[in-house]
């Protein structure tokens, strides 16, 4: 079953002579249960692509379909609610809120679904235990290591059980061991049925994914499953 489908997606920044086209008609289909690495040189448009898949950004032209629904026709409010309900994001810089505890950071992942506070806190604590941080609930990001911060961010991305997890260089700021811990969490989520897309620069990270999409100059250069071209 197809989860996400990009049809002829282009993205142009700026207008007129300053216009810069970063994506040139990208067609890409992400199936339910896919576990995809997106690789490519810096500036090739990986982050732009991920933002458009995650409805954080709209394509200049082309269509994005989530479970067959055309997102380009959605209003901001509808798009936001869809994002909150079905997608989870993990970023290279973690993007946790300083001065707030791990528990509060993670429970914000349920805030915009209208989940009540006691339940938010309960589920956030569960999610933190899942990522192995049950003993760090009240620590603020400043009191956690980089690896722990990224695991808090993963907990926040999975606390509402999203169908699709989108990660932009999730291990980019981590040492090998911490990076592996995060990837092992992804493996578990994938095994449980989540669809996962990971941008990475790291060959060894890409090598463990069953599908690898290579970008170059705003185009999909290759798309391979387990060494077999699609």
């Amino acid at each position: 079953m197809t989860r996400l489908e990009l049809q002829g997606v282009t993205r142009t920044y700026g207008t007129g002579t300053a216009a810069l086209t970063v994506l040139h008609g990208v067609d890409l289909t992400i199936e339910q249960g896919d576990y995809v690495a997106v690789v490519g040189p810096s500036g090739s448009g990986k982050s732009t692509l991920l933002n458009i898949m995650g409805a954080l950004d709209r394509p200049t032209s082309g269509r994005v379909l989530l479970d067959g629904d055309d997102l380009t026709s959605y209003s901001d409010a509808r798009l936001s609610r869809m994002r909150g309900a079905h997608l989870g994001f993990v970023f290279q810089q973690f993007f946790l809120l300083e001065r707030r505890s791990a528990l509060e950071n993670v429970s914000d992942g349920l805030l915009y679904q209208g989940v009540r506070r006691p339940e938010r806190r309960r589920r956030a604590a569960d999610a933190l235990r899942r990522v192995g941080l049950g003993h760090r609930l009240d620590h603020t990001p400043g009191e956690l290591s980089g690896g722990e911060c990224q695991r808090v961010a993963v907990a926040r991305a999975l606390v509402h059980r999203p169908g699709v997890l989108l990660a932009d260089e999730p291990t980019g700021n981590l040492d090998t061991a911490s990076g592996r811990a995060v990837l092992e969490l992804f493996d578990v989520l994938h095994a449980e049925g989540a669809t996962i897309v990971v941008i990475t620069h790291d060959e060894s990270v890409a090598a463990r994914m069953p599908r690898v999409v290579a970008m170059r100059d705003g185009r999909v250069e290759s798309d391979q499953r387990r060494g077999v071209a699609v």
Partner: protein, 394 residues
């Protein structure tokens, strides 16, 4: 699909920026706090002073009319006919009339003070019922009565007592009045409705007649009239007091002067209120400023919340709530300070304490409006931050 965060969560979100930056929040709420303090304080004070005046007028009555000689056609000081007191007393709507009579004498501390040094204190004979007619209260001693009728006894107005350096009456104080010693038997509190008595030394009518003859002209006739007929009676009194020259009689109502005084105080109130409004405006700009900075600083937070499902409206409402809470905080602090100020001042003045409900509610309403108005622009800016911009890697 379920809606976004509920009211309690929205409040919590709005309070987030305040609790995480307490110092800054406090400082930016200060301007509003000062403005509201000034507003509540000033309105509360004028309310209590107004209440005090009303109490005072209730106690003193607004039915006192004061009849005194005006000026004749040549611009010379006129006099009231001897019969005027009696005539006034006969008017049906007059409840009581009491007069002071001019005595041509000076009062000094001792006989050694030179004649010309009178300290501006007048001497008058107090007709029967004077104290009651003007609601005079004694600070010390007693009023002129039958026991002292034929003795040289004097009651001093408050200012007169001070100028003559009369302190305690315990040791038998005397003053030199005319050509002889008078015993001071009483000292008055300031007489609100007849302040001229404060500067007067009052002697009994019998003594005055014995020493200065029985044809002393009335100086002032203090007239208590039927409370429902004050205006009508007032028009009548000139003709009654001096039928041959009604225009040479001046009739005044001292409670009017008190009201006018209060009205003058109110223009001061308006001025202070204006200053409070300026402080409020400055406070409002301060909050707007802090909110705009806050939006810039928290772009990342905005991006994260958008990724977690916050709508544009949701982000806007978070910042609007924050601005309103900030302003309300200022309003609350200002309200408390304003009430404290009013209470302290009222207690100090010996006024009754009136809790200024209306000013406090008005102050809170003001800060609510200020917070929502100045929060609008920062909220719109926050709402329009694109999530991808907010989440750009550094």
């Amino acid at each position: 699909m379920r809606g976004g965060p509920g009211p309690a969560d929205r409040l919590r979100l709005g309070a987030l920026g305040l609790t995480s930056r307490k110092g800054r929040a406090g400082l930016s709420a200060l301007g509003v706090a000062i403005g509201i303090t000034a507003m509540v304080g000033v309105l509360g004070l004028s309310e209590s002073s107004r209440a005090d005046l009303n109490d005072q007028l209730d106690a003193l009555g607004t039915n006192l009319l004061v009849v005194s000689p005006g000026q004749d056609m040549m611009g010379e000081d006129a006099t009231l006919p001897d019969s005027s007191v009696e005539m006034i007393d006969r008017v049906p709507t007059v409840e009581a009339a009491a007069a002071t009579y001019a005595v041509d004498a000076a009062v000094r501390k001792t006989d050694r003070v030179p004649d010309e040094q009178t300290s501006g204190i007048g001497v008058a004979a107090a007709g029967p019922g004077l104290a009651a007619a003007v609601s005079a209260e004694l600070r010390e001693g007693r009023w002129l009565d039958a026991a002292t009728e034929h003795y040289p006894a004097v009651v001093l107005g408050s200012t007169a007592a001070r100028r003559l350096a009369v302190g305690s009456l315990d040791e038998g104080v005397r003053v030199w009045l005319g050509d002889q010693w008078f015993a001071v038997v009483g000292v008055l509190e300031p007489v609100v409705l007849a302040p001229e008595l404060d500067e007067t030394a009052l002697i009994g009518p019998a003594v005055a007649t014995e020493l200065y003859g029985d044809d002393l002209p009335p100086t002032t006739v203090y007239t208590r009239v039927d409370g429902d007929q004050v205006t009508a009676t007032r028009d009548l009194l000139g003709r009654t007091a001096n039928p041959s020259a009604p225009s040479e009689v001046s009739v005044s109502r001292p409670s009017d002067a008190l009201e006018a005084q209060a009205a003058a105080d109110e223009s001061l109130t308006t001025l202070t209120l204006g200053l409070g409004a300026v402080a409020l405006l400055v406070g409002a700009v301060g909050i707007a400023n802090v909110m705009v900075i806050s939006v810039l600083e928290r772009r990342r937070e905005i991006g994260v919340r958008r990724a977690l499902g916050a709508t544009r409206a949701g982000i806007g409402s978070q910042f609007l709530t924050e601005s309103v809470l900030l302003s309300l905080l200022g309003g609350l602090v200002g309200g408390v300070l304003g009430v404290a100020l009013t209470t302290a001042f009222a207690v100090n003045q010996g006024w009754g304490v009136v809790f200024p409900w209306e000013p406090v509610l008005a102050g809170l309403a003001c800060s609510l409006v200020v917070g929502s108005v100045v929060g609008l622009y920062p909220a719109l800016r926050a709402a329009s931050v694109p999530p991808t911009e907010a989440l750009r890697s550094i």
